[in-house]
């Protein structure tokens, strides 16, 4: 009983966060930057930040994760980190030779007032950035938002700092990936291909964080959105932003800078969100939905019907990040399951409003909290008061699942104790079918485990 101390009684807390359901901005920026080809993320702060982010991403992906650090010292924090960053830019181009350095700030460099825009401009003015190379940046103070905010800021930075409009439109669409796995990004590209449209997907961590064993340690794996693609995003016909929190800021930046119109969609998790995604492509590009996609959808609906009796009314607690929780909650409702508790450490009015709207219409009695003090301790307290049949969330959920002895599905970030998320998508119709399979497996395994001998069924 690792969480034996969790009390049932929920009290208002003034300071404390216990077992957070979020982490800080910079790791999101680092993850996003890994989705640009030939890019070395750079953490402008103490070397601990960089080390922690690399370790966490390494544990999540079981892949080498390269990133550099400004290695702040006491001196830097008194006199400012400009000298460190300029020296770092020199070192990185000289030794690691990336095409791009993507700098993100930290709580330390933000608080001492380092201005990344000014410093990177100085680096450029001083000739520290070789011809054809780039330094981009995003401001990601750890004391604002969460890892999701950091991701959004870096992706918006890509749009802002790379997109160009030549005045001549290209026959392509921008697909701006909200925080999702390399497998999901690969699936987005597949779906676009089947739909018959050209897309620029950014960021794109497929073939970066799911790289094959080759006998070489490649510093810059073959995947990632290229600079040419990012530049051309300004000439795209339209943008689809997948995720209102993690992707939309980049779409807004593109609209402002290059007048590329956009539509914001949920990450296509589950039937309804995937329907909207496919229809949005169909509409914006004027293409018909091919039979192949219709069949994929049909297979998902078929399984939903086949297994409906095992899903109805099952009570679920879930925690994670806004752009995933929203469509996942909708999917659970579509499966006639019951989301009972929902928690996200990521703050934000937009998400708060969207989730409340969904719940008000379809599940008004659901407990929901986001932002400060919306942590796993609170979720666990809720679960003690109103028990559930299933928990969905990142690896840290395993403590609660064990203590409450309930089935658990790993979903979100980070997943430190299982594989699969890098390789098998959770989005689109087939990804949703996989999600459904996972839900059914854990619920039915539990039913088998707990069944009385005379009720232990062969055919289910």
């Amino acid at each position: 009983m690792l969480l034996r101390h969790t009390s049932k009684e929920v009290k208002v807390r003034e300071g404390l966060t216990i077992n957070p359901a979020k982490t800080c901005q910079p790791i999101g920026a680092m993850y996003a930057a890994l989705g640009i080809h030939g890019c070395l993320p750079h953490s402008h702060g103490s070397q601990g930040c960089c080390s922690y982010h690399r370790s966490t991403l390494t544990r999540h992906y079981k892949e080498p994760v390269m990133a550099a650090t400004s290695s702040f010292t006491e001196g830097a924090s008194v006199f400012g980190g400009q000298a460190n960053l300029l020296a770092a830019i020199d070192t990185i181009f000289a030794v690691y030779d990336p095409d791009i350095i993507a700098v993100h700030s930290t709580c330390l460099s933000e608080t001492i007032g380092d201005d990344l825009q000014q410093i990177t401009k100085k680096a450029s003015d001083d000739g520290k950035i070789p011809e054809g190379k780039y330094v981009i940046y995003a401001s990601t103070p750890s004391f604002v938002g969460s890892h999701v905010t950091g991701y959004a800021n870096m992706v918006a930075g890509m749009a802002n700092q790379f997109a160009e409009s030549t005045g001549e439109k290209k026959s392509q669409y921008n697909m701006i990936a909200g925080w999702m796995e390399p497998s999901d990004m690969r699936e987005i590209k597949r779906l676009a291909k089947v739909m018959g449209i050209n897309i620029v997907l950014f960021p794109d961590t497929s073939d970066v964080l799911d790289a094959p064993q080759t006998g070489k340690h490649v510093f810059y794996p073959k995947g990632g959105t290229t600079v040419a693609e990012l530049k051309s995003s300004g000439d795209s016909l339209a943008s689809l932003a997948l995720g209102s929190i993690s992707a939309e800021p980049a779409a807004i930046a593109l609209e402002k800078k290059c007048k590329v119109p956009f539509e914001t969609l949920d990450i296509p998790i589950g039937l309804s969100a995937t329907d909207r995604f496919i229809m949005a492509i169909s509409k914006v590009a004027g293409v018909a939905v091919p039979d192949e996609i219709t069949a994929e959808r049909g297979r998902l609906v078929d399984v939903m019907a086949d297994m409906e009796q095992y899903l109805h009314g099952k009570r679920v607690a879930l925690f994670g990040d806004p752009d995933q929780l929203l469509p996942l909650t909708e999917f659970l409702l579509d499966l006639s399951m019951k989301p009972v508790h929902i928690v996200s450490g990521t703050p934000g009015q937009r998400f708060e409003k969207q989730m409340r709207a969904l719940l008000e219409e379809r599940s008004p009695e659901t407990n929901f909290k986001s932002g400060l003090h919306a942590d796993m301790f609170l979720l666990h307290q809720w679960m003690k008061n109103e028990p559930v049949d299933l928990l969905i969330g990142n690896t840290y959920g395993k403590y609660m699942a064990r203590d409450e002895d309930i089935p658990f599905i790993r979903f979100g970030f980070p997943i430190l104790d299982r594989i699969g998320h890098s390789y098998f998508p959770n989005i689109g119709y087939s990804g949703s079918l996989r999600m459904l399979e996972k839900i059914l497996n854990v619920l039915m395994d539990r039913q088998d485990r707990d069944a009385l001998e005379e009720k232990f069924e062969l055919v289910m």
Binding site: L16, C50, Y52, S55, K62, P64, S71, A88, F219
Partner: protein, 453 residues
């Protein structure tokens, strides 16, 4: 890879042993170069890993959420009782706190925490930002200690104020405040503290058992399976036995100065060092020869069963080459010996935190041509592993996937070890783990070993 050389400015931190020529000392104890892909962490990380295993205290991280989130239960430091250390507590500082100060929030958090969990003590870690906004965490700790009646100890671990080693020291400072506050009644003259053993995978239990079998009382383990009450009476022990020299030598020296407790440095890895660590403790108590007798007995019994069981591994591993890149240098020494005892040689040896003396000794121990590195990075590691044709890398979390991408076996000798590697049984486990990884059939499918289509 081929075109990437050693980082400019790092030449002095890398050395290939060549007895034929005079070689300068390796440069160490430096901060990582700005812009390097360093494998190192920060001051906070150092403090956090040292104090983490104290299981009946709360560990509150005062700062934005990240520092608490990334250090939440990532170290398998096992407890035989309370498990408060496995929870994550943070003041989750927000922008307004950064502007107006976080003291109030810290105070409330502490009061809430202590009320909820009734811990024996509280450690408050200050992070980068706290150092900048100037929260007086000492004052808050004092106030809360007075109100709650438990020790509330500030740990000054602002990330940028030095290296991981400075974090060890900050942690030791907090421990020093506890040591000496408990009663030493009834502590045997034949007693020790085990320092620098963190009970990863239950290792401290194994070591403790050996010493107890020798008739020695273990007053406290710092900090593996740690308890506040035991720490408070640590000054009653007759000898400090220090492993993981990087983190705890400072504390041992302080205790020597303040309480007159001598210390010895030991290592529990490998047959040779493990045996020596029992003999060295026995030597400290010459007036009771039974202790040495018991130590000899333990060693002889353990070796009698262990030695034959290692032969099968040795046969398979004979002539294989290893690369070692771990946190502390002392561990590297033991690993070199342990690897030799299973027939393997070492072609690369390095650490994140070694000092000048450590590297001098390392050089002495290593074979000709061995590459010695301080504060290395993935580029160098990959380069040397391939050049030296290593079959195995021993390292931590960030090194593992690099080894696997290269098609090289791996053993985690850091936080993520799953089985005890210390003690005699630990040597068996180590040999088994190395054997399983090096001999795994997977490498034959890897392109480097000709396994491509």
């Amino acid at each position: 890879m081929e075109q990437i050389g050693i980082l400019e400015g790092r030449e002095r931190q890398v050395l290939e042993k060549n007895s034929g020529v005079a070689q300068a000392d390796i440069a160490c104890d430096t901060s990582s170069l700005s812009g390097s892909v360093s494998q190192r962490a920060c001051v906070f990380c150092g403090s956090r890993v040292v104090l983490y295993p104290v299981a009946d205290a709360i560990h509150l991280v005062h700062g934005p959420i990240g520092c608490a989130a990334y250090t939440w239960d990532i170290r398998g430091a096992v407890s035989s009782g309370p498990e408060l250390h496995r929870l994550s507590f943070s003041t989750d500082l927000q922008e307004m706190d950064v502007i107006y100060g976080g003291e109030k929030k810290l105070y409330h958090s502490l009061i809430e925490l202590i009320e909820q969990y009734k811990p024996k003590a509280a450690f408050i870690y200050s992070t980068c930002i706290v150092g900048l906004i100037g929260d007086d965490i000492d004052a808050v700790c004092k106030k809360v200690a007075k109100e709650t009646g438990i020790p509330v100890l500030p740990v000054h671990s602002e990330g940028f104020k030095g290296t991981k080693k400075d974090g060890y020291k900050a942690a030791c400072l907090a421990l020093m405040k506890l040591i000496g506050t408990g009663s030493t009644d009834g502590i045997s003259k034949y007693s020790i503290n085990i320092l620098g053993e963190f009970n990863l995978a239950g290792e401290a239990w194994i070591i403790r058992q050996y010493y107890e079998k020798m008739g020695i009382e273990v007053v406290s383990t710092l900090t593996g399976d740690g308890r506040i009450d035991a720490v408070r009476r640590a000054h009653g022990a007759s000898l400090n036995v220090v492993q993981c020299s990087g983190s705890m030598t400072w504390l041992a020296k302080e205790m020597e100065e303040k309480y007159g407790i001598p210390y010895i440095r030991v290592s529990y890895f490998g047959i040779e060092d493990m045996s020596k660590s029992l003999y060295d403790v026995a030597l400290h108590f010459p007036d009771r020869p039974e202790i040495m007798e018991a130590a000899k007995q333990i060693v002889s019994e353990e070796v009698k069963t262990l030695y034959p069981s290692l032969q099968k591994f040795k046969k398979a591993l004979q002539g294989k080459k290893a690369a070692i890149y771990v946190g502390g240098a002392f561990k590297t020494f033991s690993l070199i010996k342990a690897l030799r005892s299973i027939g393997m040689s070492v072609v690369l040896a390095g650490s994140q935190t070694g000092n000048k003396d450590d590297y001098a000794r390392l050089k002495e121990m290593c074979d000709e041509g061995t590459v010695i590195v301080d504060d290395s990075n993935p580029v160098e590691l990959s380069k040397f592993i391939l050049e030296k044709e290593a079959d195995l890398l021993i390292g931590g979390v960030k090194e593992r996937p690099i080894a696997f991408k290269l098609g090289v076996a791996f053993c985690d000798h850091n936080h993520e070890r799953k089985i005890p590697l210390a003690g005699f049984i630990g040597m068996y486990n180590f040999a088994l783990e190395v054997y399983q990884s090096v001999m795994s059939p997977v490498w034959q499918f890897a392109p480097r070993k000709g396994g491509s289509l």
